[in-house]
């Protein structure tokens, strides 16, 4: 079968790295070609967010900022709960070419194992709405006592 862990694409762009860098790392750029709006605190550890008019939202954590050659961030895996510790790492690398920029994007980490803490949460019988509702009932029973 083959579990795809890493995605990589390279494109040649007819614009200098400085312009590509700005499109990748500014709120204005990210909010145009990627999201419908964006915010970014451009430093390692900084928070970034993209939102879409559909109501969707992506929260990122900036990891690498080496202007104008490397920009990396992590974000959650689509479809997993917000508090899931599994995240993929996205890295853009910009290489100047005679006529513009060779841009490579890699996203890796799709095939990572759930960590122990998370696996425990999986195996426990505390998952799911049924048990959440059970806890609510217990809480209410206890409060009434």
């Amino acid at each position: 079968m083959g579990f795809p862990d890493r995605i990589e694409r390279t494109v040649e762009i007819a614009h200098p790295p400085a312009r590509v860098w700005a499109a990748l790392t500014t709120a204005e750029g990210l909010g145009t070609w990627f999201g419908n709006a964006a915010t970014i605190d451009l430093r390692p550890g900084g928070a970034a967010e993209m939102t879409w008019t559909s109501g969707d939202k992506a929260s990122m954590r900036v990891e690498r900022v080496e202007e104008p050659t490397v920009f990396g961030f992590t974000w959650g895996i689509s479809g997993l709960p917000d508090d899931d510790p599994r995240r993929t790492y996205v890295e853009f690398t910009l290489v100047p070419t005679g006529s513009g920029t060779r841009l490579t994007v890699t996203e890796s980490g799709f095939a990572q194992l759930p960590d122990d803490r998370h696996r425990n949460a999986f195996e426990g019988n505390t998952e799911g709405w049924a048990s959440e509702l059970g806890e609510l009932v217990e809480y209410l029973d206890a409060s009434a006592a």
Binding site: V11, W52, D84, A111, R119
Partner: protein
């Protein structure tokens, strides 16, 4: 603690389970309505009780449902989300549309020179 699951094997079991319409129906019923007994499921699905028992055994073997004691000592089956979330990692990789995203980036850079109308909404590839 069991050995770490082989995530590829886990994903394969999920997709195998989902390939069968009866098993999809059982999983969908458990997702929609919560834990249920084989009898409950037979009442709500167009599948015989015997076939449901067979499918539940397979699903339990694959870790997609867990048996638990229910009322009047009847076994209830509960959906287990962990394998689904592993399969979702696989689907997330397939659904990541960098090609379209990079096209949008190139388009933005090319259009930057001239004033342009607001860009079309870029299809989201994260949910």
């Amino acid at each position: 603690m069991p050995a770490p699951p082989d995530i590829e094997a886990v994903a394969e079991e999920v997709f195998t389970a989902l390939a069968d319409p009866s098993r999809r129906g059982i999983l969908a019923a458990l997702a929609a309505g919560g834990p249920a007994t084989a009898t409950d499921l037979a009442a709500s699905l167009p599948i015989t009780r015997q076939a449901i028992a067979k499918h539940l055994a397979l699903l339990a073997e694959a870790g997609l449902v867990a048996a638990e004691p229910g009322e009047r000592r009847r076994v209830r089956y509960r959906l287990r989300s962990a394998p689904m979330q592993v399969a979702q990692q696989f689907l997330a990789a397939l659904a990541r549309d960098w090609d379209r995203q990079l096209d949008a980036l190139q388009e933005l850079l090319n259009e930057d020179a001239a004033p342009q109308p607001a860009p079309d909404e870029q299809g989201r590839n994260r949910s």
